[in-house]
Symmetry: C2
Subunit: 300 residues, 2 copies
């Protein structure tokens, strides 16, 4: 499970940095979170394939988080996509998208299912391999964070070993759950002889855009990786608060309070050319910090 | 007077080529024609300044011609623009832009004047230095071309020479119009002694997106430079017609019929990686062809 950063900047593109977008890869499925202007071009640039993508999540309706969406939806249609796409976004986005398609006389080549984000915490997508839950964060307008959970697929079978011990395929599901197998001749095949550890469950929390608050801490508690916005440095904390954004120190504080394993920083203001100070400020509070770089994939 | 190409591709971004956008520079004023996704980033990349821009023209409401507009309008506001901006676009764009601003709780920092494009030929902007006229072209949905005219500013004064001959500043306007000056001592100062040729009037015609038609030929007749879409090569002429687009040969035919001085080709389909065949095809019909390259400025 990993996240690829497609845009790490806040509202204004600057210094080659793009507005917010990132793709979480879970067992080969690509979950797109936010879709700032230029996302489709960034996806091309970094080799992310639309065919693996069936779910898009939009945190809120400031343009730097969704102005790339109409173009992406359009392009997939021009390329003849037929697979359904699920879009989870604030309700107000639907009439805007409908109008954009209507005035262009465009009918998408694939079914687009629009899911309006509810006010509170809610399970949005529940797949055998992953789930996505939204939770409210505190911004100027309605805004959500997203918690992506990779589910465990149980223990991983070693097919050669299973054959060796003569275990019938019908019993494989029980092996995945960790059970031993007793042969007809009374011989007990221990689970660990024919399986190994499978991928563990993992939790990734996307927290943007928000001021510093512990209001969603219970939801993201114990996440393996937290992405937290830090539009500003601590010296501009007053500006951060006034604009409902966070500082690098505050992002680190949240990661610490949530007992996360690692923290990815992003959504940098265009007033900062250099990003090292974000690393320094956050690292003083929380040990395992990454300053997100566009095109880079981070293991969760 | 020159045009800088910001995007030369048709609907799908491909091979590093962006969707349609270009900026016409007239006496330091920047006129933006179409605004595909990524235009604000392209403007940054190629050093075009928003401060010189007060007019934006949108040919039609296919996304590859305007999906960069909301981001550009937003960014100028975030940067505190106060100068008025005039937007000329199909009427249906206004409620979409209004909704986008409303759901983001955004009030632009500058006055944005929306001018709905009329059905036929019409003078849109008439400045002392330039004018812009729209004309209908033939596409799947309502679509306009734009004719940009640079006005002559008359003859260019040579201030040192004017001083030398003792001509009062109050008479300069008459010198610009080509008149001689008769001094009180009866000495006749010939106009050509104190002025030189100023910038001549120029006409630039933007023709996109359209199928091959001579319906707007009278409007663009004698243009110095024509930009004409050529989404396809002649071998795909049937596809061009079906999709209301043109071929390189057809674009060249229009330039020839219009007695233009030069032709710029653009709006290439993403099915073509190489663009040389567009040059070859058009040059066989019309002598002075440029295959538009992003970031390049063409003298008109």
């Amino acid at each position: 499970m990993r996240v690829t950063i497609l845009g790490n900047n806040s509202a204004l593109p600057a210094f080659g940095r793009h507005p917010s977008a990132q793709a979480v890869s879970v067992y080969g499925e690509l979950l797109l979170i936010d879709c700032g202007e230029g996302t489709q071009i960034q996806m091309q640039r970094y080799g992310l394939r639309w065919r693996s993508m069936h779910h898009i999540f939009i945190s809120h309706l400031h343009g730097d988080h969704y102005f790339g969406l109409p173009g992406l939806l359009n392009s997939m249609s021009l390329l003849g996509r037929t697979a359904p796409l699920h879009l989870y976004a604030p309700a107000d986005l639907k009439p805007i998208l409908d109008s954009i398609l209507l005035v262009a006389d465009t009918v998408l080549s694939y079914p687009l299912y629009f899911h309006a984000l509810p006010d509170g915490v809610a399970l949005l997508a529940d797949d055998p391999s992953f789930s996505v839950t939204c939770f409210p964060v505190e911004h100027r307008i309605q805004c959500h964070g997203f918690l992506v959970e990779r589910k465990t697929r149980g223990r991983k079978l070693l097919p050669e070993k299973c054959n060796e011990y003569g275990i019938p395929a019908a019993y494989y599901e029980y092996l995945k759950k960790g059970q031993d197998y007793e042969r007809k001749d009374g011989f007990l095949v221990k689970n660990e002889w024919v399986t190994e550890d499978g991928p563990s469950a993992k939790r990734y929390a996307y927290c943007a855009d928000t001021l510093f608050t512990d209001s969603f801490l219970t939801v993201i508690q114990g996440a393996d990786t937290i992405y937290h916005e830090c539009t500003y440095l601590e010296k501009d904390a007053a500006k951060a608060l006034a604009r409902h954004h966070s500082t690098a120190a505050q992002a680190a504080q949240i990661a610490k309070l949530a007992n996360a394993k690692q923290l990815i920083l992003g959504h940098f203001s265009s007033k900062y050319k250099e990003l090292e100070p974000f690393f320094d400020e956050a690292s003083a509070i929380f040990p395992n910090v990454f300053v997100s770089i566009e095109g880079t994939s981070y293991e969760i």
